[in-house]
């Protein structure tokens, strides 16, 4: 059937959404249709080595007769080698004479030992392939350099008959379609078009208002202006970044073993900003690969080097440092080789590449650029594995500057105060001062700081507050408890342990209600366990401890009721020896109504032995001790050696100054104030500094590591030493004797005008982003094993145009999405499907399933839940339990998934926290890579697990409910209007009557069901953190929620049509 006839039979049914075929001019249709199995080759008469011959040789021969291996001395990838006389005396190829070529005999042989390729390789040449080889040899066996390695020459776009095909892109595509005899689809209808291009450029659906505006805009450049506005929206940078982050293998954890969090989201945000700023791709390249080496590198340029820190790292005990360093350098090299040059460098890690002219030596010469990385083999399981860069905000910067200016002033003030002090160590007094009794209070209005206070049995903690003099003994409140049986308040952890000095007495004050006195009162002390008790009143009634031991000491009768009385017991009596550490105490009563106040320790204070009064005593305590945690690091050695051995005046001065300002308990007020002011300022500086975000950056070690060819890719088998250089088959990077090349040289080389790969690879990846498939389908392999481009001239034109435009990514994207090809209807005609199932020739518009992030973001956007805030730390949206936990190590800081709440649940998916060993299910289910390695191309699978997620995930049910609620609020009140509103919102088009009928019928069923079952309705609309509007009838909202859920699951909804 010819294309014209096809077009006639397939004029679309729906007048409202007219789609159809544009007829090519009749003369074109009359061109004979040459159906090709492969679209690599246009139906051109002349054979070309690159397009027609090399793929055959590469697939079938090069593995044994190519760059890596030359069995029988034969190498078929170069003319000289393939045509020379072999040791056997024969010549594989005799140009112009197929019959005389050994190749001919081998291809046709039937003997298993003779035939090529040999049977064990499992490779069989097709008759048409043999025929091509025959024709090629007969025509002179002309070799060409592999297409991708040839210089990029900008071809002239061919003339086409349709004057409307003005863009070179369309002229290349349509001349080829004409040659194939394929008619092209008409432009897609406007609703489809705006939805397609909005998703393509921003990753989000258009709003109904945007659709309306576009439909109403009849100016000829309406579409172009739409594109311009999308290209300058902040969401454009986010969508572009998403694709690059797959290439960069960005994630939020280290990737192996504990798989702890790492902080480098500033790099992710840099990528977004780079696209929003339309950073030219050459600078985009240079800053990521060598931003640190640029003269006067800016903060952003350093952040960009995070690209080379995105690789997976580990800190698993027992790993070998050298192996890790080797592995990281290989990963970084292979990533650059693949991302910029589309070459599979990994092959050359172990051996010379079998198919492409990249030797192991050349791979390791590239590796040498990355082999001096400053980051360690072991990541330390740290959030910030050095080298990192601090990224203070403007506010933080100015606060730090202010504090830095203030600190010296405060220090000077303190110095002045200290200098003016006349401290005399009591040890030096004669006569020495007498010891005096002193009290330390543990409880007065509050328990000791940070004590984990618990109560019971007998009810919660209660305070009695009073301003009547005498009712409260001290401060403004007393602890109060009325108990039946045992009642108590206590703590046994949290607070600093209380050290009991010698000759101490512990006291507590109590007021007993004369109307309800207790039977007993007890003080208990915790020293790792409750081992020390003193009891007043009936010693047996509480029942704890063994009377006559320190676990229960009977202290006699209760104090008099109706007034404050003091309970006291010597520490000795309770077995609390000098230096004992009390980790908690309990105030216990049996029955009655009791108030407690002013609990503490009374001790004999000898100023000459008190470390807070005597510097000597303090120093003596610390002399010779290993652990001196309460002494600043620089002073520890001096303090440790003791006061006597410290003779240098400045050292004495330093210690004394520390003691006076930090320890001395008898500081005059002016010292307290000056010391506190300095302390506070220093603490604030530390806090501000600690709060500054940091990010992984790439640096080199001060001294370069030597690099070697690692034999068979083994980290511990260095072979020949190599210097930094680039592969010989590519344009040379001149080496100046004695000055090693840098990463900056490498980066500049990649984007140099002579480089044949970078522009082709990058333009192709962009093409793939918008059309679903690259012109080179194997967008990650431009070598001879990759597929040749479907449209070589178009690819070269795009590459040349990209470079000539100053690597203007946005301009190239605009060219692509304004092409007629991008705008065509996606209707699939059977003839097209038969001739071009993959749509490589683009007679129809691109129709591809949305990516993982787009699907989730769409639900959020349509429901009005989306929070468009940009940047920052990764967020943790809804995720079922037990995604992280089963793979998380006990010691990992990403063991337990702690879902965020509030706006974090509704951010764009780009900002979802990515844990490599357990990525979010919505990403995995929809083919997002787990970012363990470079990925230039996602699969697009179609699985039941996807269906389950979209039907049942909380995120999607909540979105459906929010969408339904939006509809109830915004649409007119009748069902038909509401259905129309929903379909328009979700699909950017109006429903067909047939569709509306299906929806209506479903709605009716759900409505009946929920009308009879309000409980179920309430359950359904309760999903998620946001609440349904209170005004909505639950049954009605639930029925519409299910309708919205169904519409969000439509194939059309999940597809960029």
């Amino acid at each position: 059937m010819n294309a014209f006839a096809t077009g006639l039979t397939l004029l679309t049914r729906r007048s409202a959404r007219a789609r159809g075929l544009v007829r090519q001019s009749a003369t074109l249709i009359c061109v004979a249709i040459a159906s090709h199995a492969s679209f690599a080759a246009a139906a051109a008469p002349a054979l070309r080595f690159d397009r027609d011959i090399r793929p055959i040789l590469s697939e079938n021969c090069f593995a044994c007769h190519g760059p890596g291996k030359q069995e029988a001395g034969l190498r078929l990838d170069s003319a000289a080698d393939a045509t020379r006389e072999l040791d056997s005396g024969s010549r594989a190829i005799v140009p112009g004479d197929f019959g005389a070529s050994e190749l001919a005999a081998r291809l046709e042989a039937t003997d298993a030992d003779v035939v090529m390729p040999p049977p064990h390789t499992n490779k069989i040449l097709k008759p048409e392939e043999k025929d091509l080889l025959k024709r090629w040899i007969a025509a002179g066996a002309h070799y060409e350099k592999h297409w991708a390695f040839q210089p990029i020459v900008k071809p002239e776009a061919p003339a086409v008959t349709d004057p409307a095909a003005t863009s070179p892109i369309d002229r290349f595509l349509e001349s080829r379609l004409a040659m194939e005899g394929m008619a092209v689809n008409a432009e897609a209808d406007r609703p489809t078009l705006i939805r397609r291009v909005t998703f393509a450029l921003t990753g989000l659906p258009p709003t109904t208002a945007e659709v309306d505006a576009f439909l109403a805009d009849n100016t000829p450049d309406a579409y172009e202006r739409l594109v311009d506005s999308l290209l300058t929206s902040p969401q454009h940078g986010e969508e572009m970044a998403r694709h690059w982050l797959d290439v960069a293998r960005y994630a939020d954890t280290h990737g192996l073993h504990l798989d702890n969090e790492r902080q480098m989201w500033a790099y992710r945000d840099w990528v977004v900003k780079a696209f929003n700023d339309n950073l030219p791709f050459d600078r985009f390249t240079i800053e990521q690969l060598a931003g640190d080496l640029l003269p006067a590198a800016t903060r952003d340029q350093k952040v960009a080097t995070g690209f080379s820190r995105c690789n997976v790292t580990t800190s698993e005990g027992g790993s070998i440092n050298d192996e890790l360093l080797f592995r990281y350098a290989v990963d970084r090299t292979a990533t650059v080789t693949n991302a910029w040059m589309g070459l599979t460098g990994q092959c050359a890690v172990c051996h010379d590449h079998k198919f492409d002219p990249i030797s192991a030596r050349e791979f390791y010469s590239l590796y040498a650029f990355f082999n001096s990385a400053a980051d360690p083999g072991f990541d330390g399981n740290k959030l910030l594995t050095a080298p990192t860069l601090k990224l203070p905000s403007g506010e933080q910067e100015s606060r730090l500057a202010a504090l830095d200016a203030r600190l010296p002033e405060l220090k000077a003030t303190l110095d002045e105060v200290v200098g003016g002090l006349a401290y005399v160590d009591p040890v030096t007094l004669d006569p020495k001062p007498e010891p005096v009794r002193a009290e330390t209070v543990w409880l007065d209005d509050e328990f000791p700081p940070a004590a984990a206070v618990r109560s019971g049995p007998g009810g919660p903690l209660d305070w009695f507050t009073s301003t009547v003099p005498g009712e409260v003994l001290s401060g403004h409140r007393s602890l109060e408890r009325t108990a039946t049986g045992i009642g108590q308040d206590f703590y046994e952890s949290g607070a600093e342990p209380i050290v009991i000095p010698a000759k101490s007495e512990i006291f507590a004050n109590v007021w007993l209600d004369p109307a309800a006195p207790p039977k007993a009162l007890m003080l208990q002390f915790h020293t790792g366990g409750w081992k020390h008790r003193a009891v007043w009143g009936d010693p047996a009634v509480i029942g704890w401890g063994q009377l006559g031991t320190e676990s229960l000491v009977a202290m006699g009768p209760l104090p008099e009721a109706g007034k404050w009385g003091r309970l006291s017991v010597t520490a000795d009596k309770l077995g609390l020896a000098d230096g004992a550490k009390v980790t908690g105490f309990a105030l216990t009563q049996f029955d009655g109504h009791v108030r407690w106040d002013l609990v503490g320790l009374s001790t004999i204070d000898d100023p000459t032995a008190n470390p807070t009064k005597s510097l000597s005593a303090w120093w003596q305590e610390r002399t010779g001790k290993d652990k001196l945690d309460d002494v600043p690091k620089p002073l520890q050695a001096i303090v440790r050696q003791g006061q006597e051995k410290t003779t240098k005046p400045n050292e004495i001065d330093l210690v004394q100054r520390h003691w006076l300002t930090k320890v001395w308990s008898e500081q005059p007020d002016r010292l307290v104030l000056a010391a506190r002011a300095l302390d506070d300022a220093q603490k604030e500086r530390d806090q501000v500094d600690a709060a500054i975000v940091q990010t992984f950056v790439f640096n080199d070690l001060p001294a370069m590591r030597d690099s070697f060819v690692m034999l068979r890719g083994a980290y511990d088998k260095p072979g020949e030493k190599v210097e930094r250089s680039t592969p010989a088959f590519l344009p040379s990077l001149p080496i100046v004797e004695g000055i090693p090349l840098t990463r900056l040289d490498l980066a500049k080389w990649l984007v140099s005008p002579e480089h044949p790969l970078t522009a082709r690879v990058t333009a192709n990846r962009l093409w793939q982003q918008f059309f679903g498939l690259g012109l080179v389908k194997t967008s990650d392999d431009f070598g001879s094993q990759g597929e040749p481009p479907s449209h070589p001239e178009l690819l070269d034109w795009l590459a040349a145009e990209y470079r000539e435009s100053g690597w203007n990514t946005r301009a190239l994207v605009k060219r692509i999405v304004t092409s007629r090809a991008f705008r065509r209807s996606g209707v699939v005609e059977p003839a097209h499907l038969a001739q071009d199932p993959e749509n490589r020739l683009l007679a129809r518009g691109p129709r591809i399933r949305l990516d993982a992030e787009q699907i989730r973001d769409q639900s959020l956007a349509l429901s009005g839940l989306l929070v468009v805030a940009m940047g920052g730390k990764g967020v943790k949206p809804y995720q079922p339990d037990n995604i992280w936990e089963p793979v998380g190590f006990a010691g990992s800081d990403t063991r337990n998934y702690k879902r965020d709440s509030g706006t974090a649940l509704y951010r764009r998916s780009l900002y979802t926290f990515l844990k490599r060993t357990a990525p979010p299910p919505f990403m995995v289910n929809f083919d997002a890579p787990n970012r363990e390695q470079f990925c230039a191309r996602r699969e697009r699978s179609n699985t039941p697990l996807q269906a389950l997620q979209l039907m049942n995930d909380t995120q999607h049910i909540e979105a459906a409910r929010a969408l339904a609620a939006r509809m109830l609020a915004e649409a007119a009140g009748d069902d038909a209007s509401r259905i129309e509103w929903l379909v328009r919102t979700v699909l950017a088009r109006r429903p067909e009557p047939e569709e509306a009928a299906v929806v209506m019928e479903t709605l009716a069923t759900h409505r009946v069901r929920y009308a009879a079952d309000a409980e179920s309705a309430k359950k359904l609309i309760a999903h998620g953190e946001t609440k349904p509007p209170e005004s909505a009838d639950p049954g009605e909202l639930a029925a519409w929620t299910l309708v919205a859920n169904m519409l969000l699951n439509l194939d059309e909804t999940l597809t960029r049509n």
Partner: protein
Amino acid sequence: MDPILEHKLLATRRHLLGSMAGGIGAMAMRDLLAAGAAPVSDPMAARLPPLPAKAKRMIVIHLTGSPPHLDLYDHKPELVKHDGEDCPAETIAGKKFAFTSGTPKLLGSPRKWVRCGASGMELSDAIPNLHRVADKLCLVKSMFTDQFNHAPAELMVYTGSPRAGRPSLGSWATYGLGSENENLPGFVVLISSGVQPNGGTSSFGSGFLPSVYQGVQCRSKGDPVLYVSDPPGMDRAMRRKSLDALKDLNELQARELGNPETVTRIAQYELAYRMQASVPDVMDISKEPQAVLDAYGAKPGQSSLANNCLLARRLVEEGVRFVHLFDWGWDFHGTGPKEDIRDGLTTKAATFDKPAAALIEDLEQRGLLADTLILCTGEFGRTPFREGRTAKGDVLGRDHYPDCYSVWMAGGGVKPGYVHGASDDLGFKVAHDMVHIHDLQATLLHLLGFDHTKLTYRFQGRDFRLTDVHGHVVKEILA
């Protein structure tokens, strides 16, 4: 049919299936829709392997952390004799161990050993239930690997590479064979005893294969398969109604645009609907007779290896192609009493050997053992000496050891009651018949009907395979 030709055909078909257009080729969409035909591009459709297969399905029991094989499977009287002596210099010269340095002391197994069954296979008293089925086991005592840290070693066992990102064994198997039950995932993963696997989801990931081949983790808590439950407030009838409408609307779309992907999507939603019923059903072991539950030591509602072994049988019985069990807690360093190779091992092994033996017997009774291959392994072995950090304590433990260890298989095509290979007297090296991880993988694929050098997938310009560029089938263990 000529196996090479058949493989070619398979590869061609796979190529088509993997293509953007879903492999529908030139088939007429409207006819398909009219006939209500099954999806034409179901990548999980059951298919025959290119070579005659002994095993149609496979169960892996992975003892995460790596069990002390010298206290379970490999009796070394010489090691017992020299217990407590310094390791001979030549056994440790130039080697690195994860947690041991200097000269460690040899550690003879304190276990008792029993010759079992007609084959006389020697097994320790830690696994008394496996004694009963010794004549069905094929024990390989000459395994070795390249990796001595958990994560890379585990990835090595299941993806052939120590780095994350390659397809796992189960993914390769389902990629090659599809699945026989279209209402259940083809590759199911069950995890017990808490955390792990070490390699994260990469240990059962599909790598660069389409994600349809990734292991689907069935869970003991929450939904047995993610999102398989309808949301509270929606019942099955409402789901059916919604799906009917969805189907009607999608069919309108398919007729309108003629894209084969739409037809596939309709089929996937229908499959999802069936899975919603069949997954909870197959995962519900409370329907098993009490005698069966007792045989495994399984208790409904718990998360245990016993439950998972029973589930493995239920799943393979239903036609699931590959079931992968991970049981954490086998890292017997000796850092605590639970990691002691005496009582600690007795306790841990009891949770494993009873259900493992029951699984073998149960499969056999149901006539499934002959074509169901079971593999039981850790990621490596454990040292013949005491682990360095814990050597001064009371607890006896062993360090990670890659150079020589034991694994066992049963069922589908392996020699029953057979011991392959041996370690040297002290257990440091393989004495004969070395089996590398890649050899084991080549053998497993062979049993499933594949030449391991030909089951490939092209990614980043290279044909990748499970065995990388290595591996030889261990012919001696084939039945």
